[in-house]
Structures are given as C-alpha cells and as structure tokens.
C-alpha cells in the first residue's frame, strides 16, 4: 500500500528520465542522505565513526570505481589495490610538495594521476578479456605496490617507507592529521562519496554508460553499432581508476592516518572485487551494500560471542568468524547470484504488488 506509484504521472521527458522516477524512492534517498550527514556526527561515538563508518564509505567509493569497470564495462580487474596506492601516494606527494593546496583538490588531482596510470594498464584490454585481463591487471597490482615500496622518493625518503597524512584543513576545519575529529573526517568522506555516487549514477544512465554496457554484453555487436571499443574500454579504466585513486587517498588521509604499501596489497583488490560481486555487478546501490557487508559483518561477528556472554578465546573467535563469514558469502551467492542489490530490487517489486499479489 505504501509503495504505490498509482497516480504518479510522468508528464515530461525529464520526469520520465529521473534517477528515481517513483516519489517514495526519491524521498527515501533524500532523507537517507540527509540523515547520513546529520545523525552520525551527532550521535555516533568515535568508535563507530572511526572504525566502522569511515572505512565503509571509503570502501564504498572503491567498490563504486571497480563496479563501473567490472560491473558496467565488463572488464575484470584485480588491480584495484594498485590504483588505490597510486591515489594515496600521489596525494601524499602533492600535499607535501604544495602544502597550501586544499586537500580536496589534492584528492581530485590524485584521482587524475591514478586515472592516467589506469589508462596505461587498460591498454591490454583491447586485445585480451575475461580472466586473461584479470591476470594482466594483477600485474599492475604487483608492479605498483613493488614500485612504491622500492623507490624511496614516493615516501619522501622516510626510513621506514611509511607515508603519513599531514594536518590539512577544509574551510578552516581540520580534516586530516591527528588533530582532525572523527566527525570532520566522516563528513568529508561522505560528501565525496555522495558526489561521486551521483556522478556515477548519471554516467551509467547516459551515453557513456550505455556504450560500456554494450561492450560488456557483446563487444562485436557493440562495435557494429558504432561503439569504439578502445576508447570506451580505456574510458572505463580511466574513470574507474579515478574513483579508486580517490578512495586510496582517503584511505590514508581520512582513515588510517599513515600507511605502508602492505595496506594496498592484493588482498585489498580481492576485497573490493568481493564487495562488487556480493553487492551486485552493475549496480550503484550494490557497491554500497557490498562494502557494508564486507566491512560490517566481520566486525559484527567478532562481537556476537561476547555480547551474548560467551567468553571465547580470541583465536577461536577469529576462526569462527572466518568460517561464518565464508558460509554467509556462499549462502548469499546461492540465494541471489546477482548480489544484494538484486535482492533489494526483488523486494521493491514485491512491495509494489503488496498486499495483493497475483
């Protein structure tokens, strides 16, 4: 009853092409975004902000980036961690070289640097695809991490090879460095992810996204109808790497505070790929759902035994957590191979008919 579109008439092209054609959706999203901006900084304690919500937002952004590439353009990539590292190290080098530049601009430029690197590693995608491309991008992952570990210039010759986020402000509010409050970091991460999610949504609804999907579904057919494969694929690599690069910079500057190359190892690439698969390939919402699943569920599982009064040894607890987490992933993929986003879509379709199903 609540979720009815009866009576909502689309009288113009604009209303027909809106992101959320149904009023209920629109309001829910607007309220959710408003709530995300207002509620956690006021209500949540530092643990929630710092250890759960900020990493969730950053991983969402990375998953969003990979989803554009893998979900929409069909190019399987395992180089996400490497591209995130490019963003992080670029942001570090830029902000230490130009301390006066606003950190948000630094993030964007770092994203552009990552995009350039992504373009470079996207070139093989014209000739190879599928698993072969995954292996080629894996090379990017290993090469980039090795490069940052090997060449001391990237870490400003720090003896340990660690990069540290220096204190920087946005509109006079400290957002990076030790003095920044968790709320300030959270709002910054949220603002960035909101803007980029909107941009991604519009991108995939338009000409670019349609050409990506055409390539993904059948590249030869796409070429015949006039989509230029090289340009389209490279664009996907570039934009995806841009998103990942910004996420990598945020990972160091807003979340960890300092990082070594180990933070960007191949495990991170897999993690983001899992987020995309579990959340739903080719879905903007799916990127968020997948990130939430991968970030929140392990933390939740760690806390369950203690909260019900079971005082298990930590090692056993960790092993149980890994087993349950693995089983949950398998369960979700069996129940809905298209990811959590698809589950949500089915729920909405059921809601439209509720309470009078056929």
């Amino acid at each position: 009853m609540i979720y009815r579109e009866a009576g909502q008439f689309k009288t113009s092209y604009a209303s027909d092409q809106a992101i959320f054609p149904i009023a209920q959706d629109r309001w829910v999203v607007v309220l959710a975004v408003l709530a995300a901006f207002l509620v956690p900084p006021l209500v949540a304690n530092e643990y929630w902000l710092q250890a759960i919500l900020i990493p969730f937002l950053i991983y969402s952004l990375a998953a969003l980036g990979l989803n554009l590439l893998t979900g929409y353009a069909g190019q399987l990539s395992l180089g996400t961690g490497g591209f995130m590292a490019v963003g992080a190290y670029a942001a570090f080098k830029l902000t230490t070289a130009f301390p006066g530049v606003n950190i948000l601009i630094v993030f964007l430029i770092a994203g552009i640097v990552a995009a350039a690197v992504g373009l470079l590693f996207g070139i093989p995608s014209l000739r190879i695809k599928g698993f072969y491309l995954a292996v080629a991008t894996l090379a990017a992952q290993f090469f980039l991490v090795w490069l940052f570990n090997k060449v001391a210039w990237f870490s400003n010759y720090a003896s340990s090879g660690t990069i540290t986020a220096p204190p920087r402000t946005v509109f006079g509010v400290m957002v990076t460095g030790p003095g920044a409050t968790a709320s300030a970091r959270y709002v910054t991460a949220l603002a960035l992810v909101a803007v980029f999610a909107l941009a991604a949504k519009n991108l995939v609804r338009g000409r670019v996204g349609r050409s990506w999907m055409a390539i993904r579904d059948r590249d030869i057919a796409a070429e015949i109808i006039g989509v230029r494969p090289l340009r389209t694929k490279l664009l996907a690599f570039g934009i995806s790497s841009f998103y990942c690069g910004v996420a990598g910079a945020e990972l160091v500057f807003l979340y960890l505070g300092s990082a070594e190359t180990l933070a960007f190892d191949v495990g991170l690439s897999f993690l983001v790929l899992f987020m995309v698969i579990i959340g739903g390939l080719g879905s903007i919402l799916g990127s968020f759902l997948g990130a939430a699943f991968i970030v929140l569920v392990p933390i939740f599982l760690t806390r369950v035994p203690r909260s019900v009064g079971l005082d298990l040894p930590v090692a056993l607890q960790k092993q149980i957590e890994l087993m349950v987490f693995g089983a949950l992933i398998i369960f979700f993929l069996i129940v809905e191979p298209n990811g959590l986003a698809r589950l949500w879509q089915i729920t909405k379709e059921k809601l439209r008919l509720w309470p009078f199903p056929h």
Partner: protein, 437 residues
C-alpha cells in the same frame, strides 16, 4: 571479653574496612592487548600474548594487583593487520585504557598520532618507530629498553668482536635480510651509516609479506656468500629463512636474527640444520628464574594459564613477561606520585617517563639476571639498554655473549635528527624537558 571491647573491636574493623569496601568496585587498571593468535604471524604472536597474560595474572593472583589495584585486560585479534589493529584500538579505547602495546610496527605507526589526542601511552618495547625514542618530540611514545637502530649497532659490534676487533670488519660482506615493511626497514639506515664508517660491504635483501617465498633471496645469498647475515624477520618468515639457510649449508653461527627472529618456533621446523643459529635479545631465555616458578605456582597450578606449561620460557614468551612487567612497573611508578588508585593516561605517562628499574627491584620481582636495569628520562624514551646474544643448540637457547653495549654516539644523533623530521610531519613542537614534572 566484655561487650564493650567487642563493640570497639567491631567498630575498629568497620572503620578500617570501610574505605576498602567503598572503593573496591572501580579499582582496576585496564590494558588492551592487541594480539595475533591466527594468521601468518601467529607463530610469533602466540607466545608473546601468553607471556603477557600470564604475567598480568600473576600480579593479580600473587600480589592482588598493583598496590591493591587489579589489572584488567582484554584481548583483540588483529592478525598483525594494520586495519584490524586500528579497529581493535578504537573498540578497546572506550574502556578507558592507560597504556597500549601494539605489538606491530605498522599498528604503532597508526597509534602514534592518536596517542596525544586520546591521552594514552603507546609502549612499543623494542620496536615501532625508532625516531619516537626522542621524548622531547614524542612524549606519549616509549620504546625502551632499546630500539632497532641500537640493536643494529650492537649486532655490528658483536660481529666485530667475533671477528677479533672492529677494524677487522673492513671488507667483510654482511647481508641484511629484512621483512619488506616499516618494521624490517628500520635497521637499514643505521647499517648503512655503520657500513660507511667501518668499511664493511652491506647488502640489503628484502622479503615481501608474509615471507613464505624466499627462493630468490637465498639464491642471491648463495651468489654473494656473505660473511655474516643479519635478519629482521617476523612470523612465518623466520622459519622459512632458517630452513633455507640450512638447506644451502650456510654457516649457521654466522646467521643472526634480530630479537623478533629468534624464537623456538623459528628454529624447530629446520631441525638439526638450525643448530648454531643466533639471535639478539634483551633478556635471558629459559625458565630458571623465580618469576617463572611463581607463574607456575600462582597461575598454571590454579588452571589460569593461557598456554601450555611446557611452552614457557621460549624467548618470545619471556619477552611477553618483560613487556608486561615494564608496563606494570611504570604504572607502579606513577602510583608513587598519584596514589594507589586507578590512574589516568596522563598520570601513567608520568610513570613511564620516570621509570627507574634498578637491579634491586628486579631481584624483588624475581627477575635477577633476567633482564637489564632501565632508566627512562624525558629526553630519552629508549633507555638505551645493551643487547645480549643467544644461540640455538638444537634443543634450547643459551646465552653466548655478555651485555653488548650499543653505539649510542652513532645512534642518538640520528634519532634526534629523525625525531625532528617525523615530529614536524605531524605538526608537533619540541618539548622543553627542563620543565617536565
């Protein structure tokens, strides 16, 4: 006995007991333990965690806590992973801890900027960022009894002694095999400086996380045939390295691990081949000390031990004891100034900074000959303790050297230089130690 006497007696008891009853609830000091009992670093992480917990249990069981204040702790599994470590730290921070022992250089790097904001001591005993040993720039970080840089200088001095004099080092080939992370890289600058000063050839060989794959490293070792190998490894990397060295027939008594690379679990898998392997340390191995007997008596015999009784006395287990003891003694020092009650992070920081662990105190703790006395000051959070060397004879570790002094004249100026660099990065200012309380 008259009724009056009984009443007076009862009153006296009540008056004396009342404060104890009233303040019995909150008399605890909370210490978070970031442990890793799973994952590729578990072989090193388990004995440390066990030693830690057993010593804290001992303090509670034997002494009833520190001056009547019980120690409370909670473990959190990090898998030696920085991100999980940060999550653990944030979660346990809510319980009002006073000191955190990260047990990972990576996690220490994350916590150093947070410590002054959260008013919480970061105690990275013999690891972490060496630059933070300058207390004028990093008031909240402590790395005594010694640091990686001092350790490296002591290792070179030891090698010099074995060769028959520091001048004999000229032209010798020394290889440093290190974990390719902030931790493993720590010793490199010191080794490079010393190689220039003393004229030995230094080769740096990196091993990537987690360290199971070392074939190419050992091919290089074979080609190079160094006179000495120094290793900064951790977890599974150590046993692989020792096995590889044994399989290429490297002279094991010229292979020295740093103090995180010389535990039972590192040499046992290589069997006979590991015989002769050496390691740096700052405390004795084995269970021949009174503190171990006490742990058996007060903890294991009551069924409260955290590991197996037979596994006591391994170097890393003993390291856990030393670390727990130093944390406890620092809190006790703080109590001499602020009273026997649960303290704040700031008060405990004072305790760390004024810690003076004498020979006499070590004897009282049942640790005579177990480790070295330490004095910490405002400038010097390193304590600059000397280093011991131990050797594996196929069954157990035994000490093969006296206390080898570090090269403070080389290391300290470098620490001060690095502290300025690292401190400025975080926007710190130098503290005036003459005004520190």
């Amino acid at each position: 006995m008259s009724v009056r006497r009984v009443i007076i007696g009862l009153l006296a008891i009540v008056v004396m007991a009342a404060p104890a009853v009233a303040s019995a609830q909150a008399k605890e000091v909370f210490i978070p333990l970031l442990v890793y009992r799973t994952g590729p670093y578990a072989p090193s992480g388990i004995p440390i965690a066990n030693g830690f917990v057993d010593y804290f249990s001992l303090v509670n069981e034997r002494d009833g806590g520190l001056n009547g204040v019980k120690l409370a702790w909670e473990e959190c599994e990090t898998q030696y992973d920085t991100k999980q470590g940060v999550e653990c730290y944030e979660r346990l921070k809510a319980k009002g801890p006073v000191v955190v022992n990260p047990y990972s250089t990576g996690i220490t790097y994350q916590l150093i900027p947070k410590a002054p904001v959260d008013k919480l001591v970061v105690f990275s005993m013999g690891y972490g960022m060496t630059a933070a040993a300058d207390g004028r720039w990093f008031p909240w970080v402590f790395s005594f009894p010694t640091t990686y840089w001092s350790q490296a200088s002591a290792v070179i001095r030891y090698i010099g002694q074995q060769e028959g004099g520091m001048d004999k080092l000229k032209g010798k080939k020394i290889a440093h095999i290190f974990h390719n992370s902030p931790y493993g890289k720590e010793a490199n600058p010191t080794l490079e400086t010393l190689s220039k000063q003393l004229g030995f050839d230094l080769t740096l060989l990196a091993v990537d996380h987690p360290g199971q794959e070392q074939k190419s490293t050992w091919l290089q070792v074979r080609r190079l045939n160094p006179d000495w190998i120094f290793m900064s490894g951790w977890g599974v990397m150590n046993q692989v390295a020792v096995k590889e060295a044994a399989s290429i027939g490297y002279k094991m008594d010229h292979f020295i691990g740093n103090w995180w690379s010389a535990n039972d679990s590192d040499v046992v898998p290589a069997g006979e081949g590991a015989k002769g392997y050496k390691g740096a340390t700052f405390h004795a191995p084995g269970t021949s000390f009174k503190v171990h007997q006490d742990i058996v008596k007060f903890v294991y015999d009551k069924g409260k031990g955290s590991g197996k009784k037979e596994e006591m006395g391994s170097p890393l287990y003993n390291r856990g004891i030393v670390n727990a003891m130093l944390s406890a003694e620092a809190i006790r020092t703080a109590m001499t100034k602020f009273g026997n009650k649960p303290l704040t992070g700031e008060q405990v920081r004072w305790g760390f900074e004024n810690l003076n662990l004498t020979e006499k105190r070590l004897e009282e703790l049942g640790m005579k000959g177990f480790t070295h006395p330490i004095k910490v000051t405002c400038e010097d959070h390193e304590g600059n303790g000397p280093v011991l060397f131990q050797q594996w004879d196929g069954k157990k570790w035994s000490l093969v050297s006296d206390w080898i002094p570090t090269m403070r004249e080389v290391v300290r100026p470098k620490i001060e230089e690095a502290a300025i660099q690292e401190g400025k990065k975080l926007g710190y200012e130098m503290r005036d130690c003459s005004k520190a309380g």
